[in-house]
């Protein structure tokens, strides 16, 4: 036993004034009565304003002194030393991705998850540490490991649904980092399991998955693409989601709030649906695609397409020629293609994108480049090994900007090269253990390696190929897909800064404005957490010198498929370690506070009901003689 704050014992001096109050005599109002026979005698005086009286024993005084003792001892924070096993660290992971806004569990899945998280919090031992990690695409630590439950509750209250797609891998990586440090951590995931990018495998800590969500009843717009057509632009709209049965829905196309066109689209549970609006006027401005459907998730029922002014993207192709690739590049608005023989040196002119197709590239001089089928040898940050025959794609990342709306699952490859890369390269697709598509960002630019020969695969024949090429041009050249600036929540939006621009003003969909001072040729802003149209105004000396638009849409097939999962293809591993016993101080102030409260109630009861001084009260019936009569 010991005391953490022994100085508080000085408060025992308060016992003196309490006793003094009992020694003071109470002034009482004098009232005549016909007889004192039936009146109970007074209990001890509580108030005093008269001179001293002789000390009289009082149960109330005893109780009050006991209350004081309990409070003072509690203030001194007594503790006893115990040997105990340290308890675990619980990392609560809350999925805040867009699908958690589905209203199948009222008011929405996130609120249901928060309720469950609060319940889980209550069930924990007081000594358990709790951390809170939330996020969709980007994971954030809201509360570092703490025993302060109120802090966690307040943080939970503040959690809101984001418009981001979910990246469970990112969330779990962060959670494991927090939980795994002590060797006795535990990750508790509150999610609907609607995660397009599921990491596979085992976690190094136990995982407790608490699924939320009741059903999948949602249809959303998952892809849009604008491409030039003979009589105006063509807008391709893809619908997908979790719908219980086939049906027909109405898709409307608006420009500046005015209805341009409408299509009734047949949708099926398996394949979703698609609509093509042709003859869309090629004017600059915002197109809005609205899906008229009553479903659980509203965030994916509306998509904006911002068409900015034309930009020229200069692309240099060096290789033996690839008809499909050149055709795909030619479809992209604003692309200016230059071809170069395989053994020719790079021209001095600067290009926005260099495409090296099966050649030993000299990439040092290039900024943004795409190296297709690099020959065996060593590249910047990667090494190309022997060929692998008939590889099968086992993983691809559909959330990466390069692979949006691109399905590599059915890709057939004749051969690829075994590539090993450093950690700066992000693997976007693998065939078994071998990466087949990698990307990285450096100060020089954005760079992509595809380890297989396009002409030895059916990729160019797939519908996703032109989309992939468009994505690649947009991502590497930081322009947005040519004239179509469509981003996802959280995507950085690049802005080409005019030489005369001194200030950039970004107006967000909710009307809030952000102001920046650009210092580079390409400025990137990342506060794109709201769905809608962002307006970027370039100012020079207060005068507007340029204006561009960027639309941020959910466009996530994974999020639109809101059918909840009850299991995840990721498992935790390992029982929590039994740590060695350590000495811990267990504080006892709660017991003393409770004792003080109990004594206070007893004192109240004693004052009003319980303890009476009967000695001076004459017994009824004439002093007891009646009883003997």
């Amino acid at each position: 036993m010991g005391l953490i704050a022994p100085a508080a014992l000085a408060l025992f001096l308060l016992a003196g004034p309490i006793v003094v109050l009992y020694l003071l005599k109470l002034r009482r109002e004098r009232r005549p009565v016909s007889s004192l026979m039936l009146w109970p005698a007074a209990r001890a005086s509580l108030q005093a304003n008269r001179p001293w009286q002789r000390f009289r024993w009082s149960w109330l005084l005893l109780l009050q002194l006991l209350i004081l003792a309990a409070l003072v001892l509690g203030s001194a924070r007594p503790f006893r030393v115990e040997t105990a096993q340290p308890t675990g660290r619980n990392v609560l992971v809350l999925d805040t991705s867009a699908s958690m806004g589905a209203a199948d569990v009222p008011p929405n899945r996130l609120e249901a998850a928060k309720r469950e998280a609060r319940g889980y919090l209550e069930s924990l031992h007081p000594d358990d540490e709790v951390a809170l990690v939330v996020g969709g695409r980007q994971a954030r630590v809201l509360v570092n490991p703490t025993r302060d439950r109120e802090l966690v509750r307040r943080a939970l209250d503040a959690v809101r649904v984001t418009a981001e797609p979910s990246d469970l891998g990112e969330l779990l990586r962060l959670a494991v980092g927090i939980a795994g440090g002590t060797g006795r951590g535990r990750v508790v995931l509150f999610s609907d399991g609607v995660v397009p990018n599921l990491p596979l495998g085992r976690l190094p800590v136990p995982l407790d998955f608490r699924p939320v969500g009741a059903r999948g009843n949602n249809l959303g717009i998952t892809a849009v693409q604008l491409r030039p057509g003979p009589g105006g632009d063509e807008l391709f709209v893809r619908l997908d989601g979790s719908i219980p049965e086939a049906g027909r829905v109405l898709v409307r196309l608006l420009a500046g709030g005015r209805l341009l066109d409408a299509r009734e689209v047949a949708v099926t549970p398996e394949g979703g649906g698609a609509a093509v609006f042709s003859g869309v006027p090629a004017d600059e401005g915002v197109l809005e695609v609205v899906l008229d459907v009553n479903d659980d998730l509203g965030a994916d029922n509306r998509v904006w397409v911002a068409r900015s002014g034309r930009q020229t993207v200069r692309v240099l192709y060096q290789g033996r020629g690839n008809l499909f690739l050149e055709r795909a590049l030619g479809l992209i608005r604003g692309v200016e293609l230059t071809r170069l023989a395989p053994d020719s040196p790079l021209p001095a002119d600067r290009f926005d994108l260099y495409v090296f197709d099966g050649v030993a590239a000299r990439v040092e001089g290039a900024g943004n480049w795409w190296w297709i089928n690099p020959p065996a040898g060593t590249g910047p940050g990667f090494e190309v090994g022997p060929e692998v025959l008939f590889p099968e794609v086992t993983f691809f990342d559909p959330e990466h900007p390069l692979l949006r709306s691109v399905d590599l699952g059915g890709l057939a490859l004749a051969r690829t090269r075994a590539v090993t890369a450093t950690a700066e390269w992000r693997v976007l697709a693998t065939a078994g253990p071998t990466p087949i598509l990698l990307a990285r960002e450096t100060e020089a630019g954005r760079q992509v390696v595809s380890a297989f020969n396009l002409q030895e695969s059916d990729f160019p024949l797939q519908p996703g190929f032109p989309i992939f090429v468009a994505n690649l041009v947009a991502w590497t050249a930081r322009t947005g897909p040519a004239s179509l600036a469509v981003y996802r929540p959280g995507d950085p939006v690049p802005v080409r800064v005019r030489p005369e621009t001194t200030q950039l003003k970004v107006v967000r969909p909710d009307g809030s404005e952000l102001t920046f001072e650009p210092r580079a040729e390409v400025f990137t802003f990342g506060q794109t957490d709201q769905l809608g149209v962002y307006t970027v105004v370039q100012l020079s000396g207060g005068q507007e010198v340029g204006r561009s638009l960027a639309a941020v849409n959910l466009l996530s097939p994974g999020e639109s498929r809101t059918a909840p999962r009850s299991e995840l293809p990721v498992v935790g591993s390992g029982a929590q370690e039994q740590p060695a016993e350590t000495e811990v101080r267990r504080e006892l102030w709660e017991v003393l506070a409770l004792a003080a409260l109990g004594l206070l109630l007893l004192e109240w009861w004693a004052f009003y009901r319980g303890i009476r001084v009967r000695l001076r009260l004459p017994r009824p019936f004439g002093g007891g003689r009646l009883g003997r009569a």
Binding site: E29, R30, V33, S34, S45, P618, F621, G622
Partner: protein, 295 residues
Amino acid sequence: MRLRDTFGEALLGKLSRLRLAVRRARPGRQSGERRSTKKGRAIEFADFRRYAVGDDPRLIDWNVYARLEKLFVRLYQEEEDVTAHILIDASRSMDWGEPQKLGFALRLGAALGYIVLATADRLVVSTLRDDRVVPLTPPLRGKHYTLGLFRRLEAVEAGGTTRLNAALTAYAGRPQAPGPLVLISDLFAPEGFEAGLKALQGAGYEVTVCHVLAPQELEPDLTGDLELVDVETGDRREVTLTPADLDEYAENLRRWREGVAAWCLRRGINFIPLDTRIPLEELVFKELPRRGVLV
């Protein structure tokens, strides 16, 4: 207080139709309307007895002699008066309450007194003060004493303490004809009253106790830190009155009254708890007849 104002002609007329109930016959002083223990010459036949020398030959029943050839005399129930006693507690504790207990007791005493006088019975009215019984009137008989009785009652003032045992024992020892006795008191006697009542019963009195309490005693409205002063003894008691204390007082009062009532029942004493708020007419024409005090 003017009792003459309280008792108008109409009320007195209604009162004269009531009689004080007497539970057993007892010898009287003058012939009256009550059955006496004496047998003699009256209307109501009582028994036969063998003739003895000295008996009035006029009482011999000749029809019996003709049938039995033996001399029997007829005995008749003698009707005489009874002496009713009214004792009024006039201690200082009775000078309390609203309506005041003593005033209530005097009005009750006046009503009972008039009823007795109106029925050709003898009436003795006394007050109790300290350990003494102060006779208020000599034994009275006849309605014409009504005014005098009222005047004496109006002159009563409260004073002294209550020592019922001593006063009642002294009254029981007086050489006077016992009869129905009505004690009107609040019974606030620290030394008790049981011995006095037993002495009265031993002397042949038929005791009725009218226990008078004021509303302020039945439902006191006191609260807070008080020093209670006994108006009779001057004793003081410090109290901190809470609702719980008032509950305890009510419980004490209830237990006390029930205890006294049970004791009186065992002793054959008619115990009547009264509240000074009861109107006189309701008391006399409903409550007391219901309790068997008046018929």
